[in-house]
């Protein structure tokens, strides 16, 4: 998760160490109100977000989502091409994986964190909200925008690609 959030091995390793130090120090205070993994990811996410803010490398908060959506005009539907049929072949391709990581890194950190917790780590909306300290409605809204933006950022690449 830290690598996906920070995209830098050194920063990710620092975040890992800081997270586990916080786990060690906070373990006695852990009351079991959430699952251990939600608590662990909450700490890890906060450490990563803090690092991103400290470095000042966070992309703009507002996603220019409209740029990544099909532009509908009255009576005219934009052309949308099929993507490759076999996801597993895409994942074996180093260039594709780098494109995916690059796109993820362009999301604002708050959106990236929601997407990683929900769609990569498999948290529910409620668990992701708990880990990030935001409402379920906010999780859903950020997740929707993150997904559409990632699809839009990758569309140009995958539509051209023939596998």
């Amino acid at each position: 998760m830290a690598m996906r959030m920070l995209r830098n091995q050194e920063d990710a390793e620092d975040a890992l160490q800081e997270t586990f130090l916080q786990v060690y120090r906070g373990l006695r205070g852990f009351e079991g109100r959430s699952t251990f993994s939600t608590w662990l990811f909450r700490l890890a996410t906060n450490v990563c977000l803090m690092k991103i803010r400290q470095k000042g490398t966070e992309p703009a908060q507002l996603l220019p989502l409209e740029e990544y959506l099909p532009q509908h005009e009255e009576g005219v539907h934009p052309q949308i091409q099929e993507w490759p049929e076999k996801p597993e072949e895409v994942l074996l391709n180093k260039e594709s994986r780098e494109k995916m990581l690059e796109a993820l890194g362009k999301l604002p950190a708050d959106y990236r964190a929601v997407f990683i917790l929900r769609d990569v780590e498999g948290f529910s909306n409620a668990e992701a909200g708990e880990a990030l300290g935001i409402s379920v409605a906010a999780v859903k809204s950020r997740l929707h925008r993150a997904r559409l933006t990632l699809r839009g950022m990758l569309a140009g690449y995958f539509q051209r690609k023939e596998i």
Binding site: M3, R4, E13, L16, Q17, F20, L21, Y24, L69, P70, H72, H77, P78, Q79, I80, Q81, E82, W83, P87, E88, V90, L91, R97, M100, L104, F115, D119, V120, G122, K140, L143, H144, R147, L148, L150, R151, L154, A155, F158
Partner: protein
């Protein structure tokens, strides 16, 4: 349902959280609108690709450095 209205509902649709009536409307729309069907499929693939993109396993030396770091910090 118009194409633009569909976009707002897609995440709920893919997560199975959409009201059944709206779900039917959306599916009827896709039967008649191939570009929307292609769009939904590509959104689904985006999610699948990230879900199954395996992360690199933690290198052994990172494990060792984490162990040393915690040992030192917890002694302090």
């Amino acid at each position: 349902m118009k194409c633009k209205d569909m976009l707002d509902k897609l995440s709920e649709y893919l997560d199975g959280d959409l009201d059944p009536k709206l779900c039917q409307e959306l599916e009827r729309h896709m039967e008649d609108c191939n570009p929307c069907l292609v769009f939904v499929n590509s959104l689904k693939k985006t999610i699948t690709l990230y879900k199954y993109a395996s992360s690199e396993p933690l290198p052994k030396e990172v494990h060792l450095r984490l162990h040393d770091y915690l040992k030192k910090k917890c002694r302090d």
